[in-house]
Symmetry: C2
Subunit: 142 residues, 2 copies
């Protein structure tokens, strides 16, 4: 697994921009998230990370994920009380959680729709972020 130059640059810029250092671990975790673009938990990331980097610790995985979230290179995804998941898709999207298969699917959202959602806020409210989570049955399960 290797991080493509464009993403390596993205990562380095993002880290530098917030006064943080580039490390093997951060790069490795970013790379594995980009490689398989699903929504793994920290434990799953830990398992994948150890395949190529057996000495990495779980604490570091948590630290790296936190850093990547802070620098806005990945997103956190939460469903109810389940373990937090991590998502490398940075486009504007919602998440669909299939109760049957457990799969999580990204649902693209138009600017227009997000705009409408912003407009329903009462006066004086300003949102930095809207989190939209569907749950039900996905196409494979219905």
């Amino acid at each position: 697994m290797r991080l493509e130059p464009q993403y390596k640059k993205l990562l380095n810029n993002a880290l530098e921009g917030s006064g943080q250092r580039a490390t093997k671990q951060r790069e490795h975790i970013f790379a594995l998230l980009l490689e398989k673009r699903d929504h793994p938990t920290a434990d799953e990331v830990y398992a994948r990370a150890r395949a190529d980097m057996p000495t990495i610790s779980l604490a570091t995985v948590y630290n790296c994920l936190e850093t990547l979230v802070e620098t806005k290179l990945i997103r956190q995804v939460n469903f109810e009380r389940e373990p937090t998941r991590y998502c490398p898709n940075l486009t504007q999207h919602a998440h669909f959680y299939c109760r049957e298969s457990g799969e999580i699917v990204d649902i693209e959202l138009s600017d227009q729709l997000v705009d409408e959602l912003m407009k329903v806020l009462p006066k004086g409210f300003s949102a930095q972020h809207i989190d939209i989570a569907y749950d039900g049955k996905c196409n494979c399960c219905s």
Copy 2:
């Protein structure tokens, strides 16, 4: 604190409908959620419940809340990794979380908007529920 007859009937029907029993504890917790219509955590519910029912246990509070959620008399609300909160507002609404004050405000959603959100799902997907969480600054804090 007393549960108004209309709500008592609602509770009893809902419980009966799912083969569960009416208990002092369930009634008490439902009543206190309806009395102060905010978004307390289980711990906060526990604290409020003990004011009038000092022997209630935390486990029971969790059990009752779970029962009320199952019977759809209240809703669960989750923000990131924070403790689950409980909401007696059953109308269609989203939640706004103010990062400044920590306050949670209900945002009413029109059928039309919810409809549009449903329409953006790809073919074959069907959602039972959409969870929408805004976060930013509320009117008091901006």
